[in-house]
C-alpha cells in the first residue's frame, strides 16, 4: 500500500531542502574558484526542480483550510518580523550614520533565514492549534 506524504513533511521538504542547497552552494562557491563556481547555481536549480516534481507527484494529504489559515498567519507574522527588523536596521543606520555594503550572498542568506522562519512559525501554529 502506498503511504501518503503528510502535509507537514511535504512543506518541510519543500522549504528546508532548497534552503540547505542554497547554503551549501553558497559556502562551496565561496571556497572554490573557477569552473565549479559557474555551475553551482545550475546545480541548485536542478535540485529545486527535482524536489518540486518529487513532492508534487507523490500522493500527499490535502492542503485543508486549517493549513491554509496557518500558512496565512505564518506569512503575516514573518512579514511583520521582517519589516520590524528592517526598520530597526534603518533606525540604527540613521542614528549612528553607518553605511554597510551588503553582498549578494548575504542577501540570499537573509532570504533563506526568512524562509526558514516562515516554516517554523507555520509549524508552531499547526502543532499548537489556533
Amino acid at each position: 500500500m502506498k503511504t501518503k506524504l503528510s502535509l507537514r513533511k511535504k512543506i518541510i521538504m519543500q522549504t528546508i531542502v532548497p534552503d540547505i542547497v542554497i547554503i551549501i552552494c553558497g559556502v562551496l562557491a565561496n571556497l572554490q574558484t573557477g569552473m565549479l563556481n559557474n555551475i553551482m547555481g545550475l546545480f541548485a536549480i536542478v535540485l529545486f526542480i527535482f524536489m518540486f516534481i518529487y513532492t508534487n507527484r507523490k500522493k500527499s494529504e490535502p492542503t485543508d483550510e486549517m493549513a491554509k489559515q496557518n500558512q496565512l498567519k505564518a506569512g503575516n507574522l514573518s512579514y511583520t518580523i521582517t519589516l520590524v527588523t528592517v526598520g530597526l536596521v534603518m533606525l540604527y543606520a540613521l542614528k549612528f550614520k553607518t553605511s554597510v555594503i551588503i553582498s549578494m550572498p548575504v542577501l540570499v542568506y537573509a532570504f533563506v533565514c526568512m524562509h526558514i522562519l516562515n516554516l517554523a512559525i507555520f509549524l508552531f501554529y499547526d502543532i499548537r492549534g489556533n
Binding site: S6, L7, R8, E61, P62, D64, E65, M66, A67, D126, R128, G129, N130
Partner: protein, 67 residues
C-alpha cells in the same frame, strides 16, 4: 471570549470511527480533526456541516459555544 466545545469525539466513538477515517470522509487532515475535538480550531461552516452530515445530526448538536 466564548469557548467552543464539540461532541465530535463522542459521536466518533459511537460510530466506531477513527480520526483518520472521519478526516478522509470530509477531505481534511487528521490533525484538523484532532484540533477540532480539542476545541483548538474554529471550523468553517462547510466543515461543520460536512461533519454533521457524516454523523446525521445538526450542527448545533455537535458544536456549542459557552461564555
Amino acid at each position: 471570549m466564548p469557548k467552543m466545545i464539540t461532541r465530535i469525539k463522542e459521536y466518533r466513538a459511537k460510530n466506531n470511527m477513527k480520526q483518520e477515517e472521519l478526516a478522509q470522509l470530509i477531505g481534511v487532515r487528521r490533525e484538523t480533526i484532532g484540533h477540532l475535538e480539542n476545541g483548538k480550531y474554529n471550523p468553517s461552516l462547510k466543515i461543520a456541516m460536512d461533519i454533521a452530515k457524516v454523523f446525521m445530526v445538526s450542527v448545533e448538536e455537535l458544536f456549542q459555544f459557552i461564555d
